[in-house]
């Protein structure tokens, strides 16, 4: 038990980082932000799920996926389908030519619910679908790619293509998916109104709890032998293979896990924002997720969350006044991070964070501290 605790927290430093983050999103934001803004932060934090998944997959595993939006979208759509069916009861839709099916189906002359919508009448099946389907899809892609030793740029391009195809499918199959508008007008979950302030608070806290759990579980994975192997595969794949490991299985696993995390984020997005649309599935969101992870520091789980928040605050602030400028700004930020701060915010914190912590501790302690440090140093050089 103690052992597991140590690993999850990553020692004293890891614990501090985790506690600061938890205090910020669990206490400070809810205390100081009104519900409108808190809900906005909640939305940003759902993007942090795929960003964290990219730290595992790309930062540690060296596998760049430009299609995490696919899994985010699958989770989001799964949840949206359930909520939409609930919103489309016969009573609510009696003015339609076919009552009891979602409105967009009726507009597209569908007369019955498509078979693949049926399971989403059940919340249990919906949750299972959110947890299993994206991971299963990732398994199929992963097995097809990694067993054939497709990696690097090729893998990135293929995931990108999958994101494009899925977007085209969703937009094109309007009658089944709601098309470009997505699935909208989601109001209740098992009869409970999800648009109220109290529901938004509850979802915010569920979201944060899930995100923090994801961080802890990811830490457990990274500190296990699996974690060292992930780094080893990234840096010297052949050596790992010739040490008796079936490397593809390790890549498939981390890809599936990253899909699972992203999907949970997507489902929480739908619950907090109240709709899901193809604009959260395709190339642009998928690349933005990579930028969140890169800005946060692609080797830092917690950094990914700060990266996501920072970029999204910036986006909101800038895109209101200079919508065109924002894309260039984000592109520029991404390039400069890659070129000058490859370790992102986490790297800056590691390099300069002690100036801040020093200042805090200095103001508390007396001046006698400094001679002691000098003395220690001279002792060391004497030894």
């Amino acid at each position: 038990m103690n052992f597991v605790y140590e690993k999850m927290m990553g020692g004293k430093k890891g614990l501090t980082g985790f506690l600061i983050l938890a205090t910020l999103i669990l206490v400070i934001f809810p205390l100081f932000l009104d519900i409108f803004r808190l809900n906005l932060v909640g939305k940003y934090l759902t993007y942090a799920f795929p960003a964290v998944s990219l730290v595992l997959l790309w930062g540690y595993g060296g596998i760049l996926s430009l299609g995490q939006g696919v899994f985010f979208g699958l989770g989001g759509y799964g949840m949206a389908m359930f909520l939409k069916l609930e919103a489309s009861s016969v009573e609510n839709t009696k003015i339609q030519s076919t009552p009891g099916i979602p409105d967009f189906m009726d507009w597209n002359q569908l007369t019955s619910l498509p078979w693949f919508w049926e399971p989403f009448n059940s919340l249990t099946l919906t949750i299972l679908a959110i947890l299993i389907l994206p991971a299963a899809f990732a398994y199929i892609i992963g097995a097809a790619m990694f067993k054939r030793r497709v990696g690097g740029v090729y893998f990135a391009i293929i995931t990108q293509v999958i994101a494009v195809i899925l977007t085209i499918l969703i937009v094109g199959q309007q009658g089944f998916t709601g098309g470009i508008n997505g699935i909208t007008d989601l109001r209740t979950l098992n009869g409970w109104d999800i648009t109220t302030d109290s529901a938004k608070y509850i979802f915010y806290f569920i979201n944060v709890a899930l995100l923090l759990s994801v961080i802890l579980i990811s830490r457990l994975i990274l500190t296990s032998k699996f974690g060292s192997l992930l780094l080893a595969i990234r840096d010297k794949e052949d050596r790992v293979r010739f040490s008796g490991y079936d490397v593809s299985n390790f890549k498939i696993f981390i890809f599936c896990f990253s899909a699972l995390i992203s999907s949970i984020g997507g489902a929480m997005f739908t619950l907090q924002v109240g709709f899901m649309s193809p604009s959260f599935v395709g190339i642009v969101p998928s690349i933005e997720m990579v930028i969140f992870a890169a800005v946060g520091g692609r080797m830092s789980l917690i950094g990914a969350i700060y990266g996501t928040l920072l970029i999204n605050f910036g986006k909101t602030a800038f895109s209101e006044s200079f919508p065109e400028l924002w894309l260039f700004l984000m592109g520029g930020l991404f390039i400069s991070v890659v070129m000058f701060f490859p370790n992102g915010l986490a790297g800056l914190w590691d390099d300069y964070g002690h100036y801040i912590t020093d200042r805090f501790s200095k103001s508390k302690k007396t001046k006698e501290d400094s001679p002691e440090i000098v003395k220690k140093k001279s002792d060391e050089s004497a030894a």
Binding site: I221, S224, K225, F226, S228, L229, L231, A232, D235, K236, D238, R239, V240, R241, F242, S243, G244, Y245, D246, V247, N249, F250, F253
Partner: protein, 248 residues
């Protein structure tokens, strides 16, 4: 196809061609238990390619490779390793960002599946094996050193240690003393003589002084074919060998 043998390794009629160029050409080669066999030959002779074929890195065009009477040519790389074949690469191939201890731990032959690696515990048994291996390769004081900071020679030792911890029946070393000082070469020769007991060792090496010190048998490879084979003295006095390899 071919019958069972008593040899640890039996290579028969092995050929591989890259776009028509035969890097290994109808090679026959046998390795006994407890034998330390050195393969020498000029650059581009196909020495590394032979090791690539044995460990599954390169697929053969034709021929058979039997290890303890198991056909290797149909097996995948990790299966070959698990069957008991270890291979050191020509340029040291270690995990530079991990410590010596972690390098050895990753090579420790348990927890090799995804689930196994997630559950793997650094038990006292594991640590004992790591310590024992580290002292064999003279790195017992560097367990917590990042592997990238080791000297070139120490990196070579570490990679040998990463193989030893798996206790392979067949150990293949591609130029293990390249870049080593004279003293390190001596220590490596001693190490190889020690670890060749109870297993078969196949070494590729250019340094003749070192070969003389370790080899039980020597094979000279030239243009993918065996030019000569025998003990050190026979090979050194073979006029063909002197002409294509030792003469210059």
């Amino acid at each position: 196809m071919n019958s069972n043998t008593d040899f640890t390794l039996a290579i028969e009629d092995l050929t591989v061609s890259f776009d028509g160029f035969k890097a290994v050409d109808s090679l026959n080669f046998y390795l006994d238990q407890n034998e330390l066999h050195v393969v020498i030959g000029p650059n581009g002779a196909g020495k590394t390619t032979v090791l690539d074929l044995i460990c599954g890195k390169t697929k053969s065009t034709s021929g058979s490779i039997k290890f303890l009477n198991e056909e290797l040519t149909k097996m995948s790389e990790h299966e070959i390793v698990r069957a008991g074949v270890g291979r050191k690469f020509q340029t040291p191939s270690i995990y530079e960002n991990l410590t010596v201890l972690e390098n050895l731990e990753i090579s420790y032959p348990y927890g090799r599946t995804v689930a196994g690696s997630l559950m793997f515990k650094r038990s006292s048994k594991v640590l004992e094996k790591i310590n024992q291996t580290a002292s064999e390769i003279m790195l017992q004081d560097d367990l917590d050193t990042e592997a990238g900071l080791l000297s070139h020679g120490q990196k070579q030792w570490l990679e040998i240690g990463m193989l030893l911890i798996q206790d392979p029946q067949l150990l293949m070393l591609d130029e293990p003393v390249a870049g080593m000082s004279v003293k390190e070469r001596e220590q490596t020769a001693e190490l190889l003589n020690k670890i060749s007991k109870g297993r078969s060792v196949l070494v590729i090496e250019h340094d003749m002084e070192f070969v003389e010190r370790i080899a039980h048998k020597v094979t000279v490879l030239h243009q993918g074919k065996i030019l000569a084979a025998g003990n050190m003295e026979e090979v050194q006095n073979d006029p063909k060998v002197i002409e294509v390899y030792l003469g210059h």
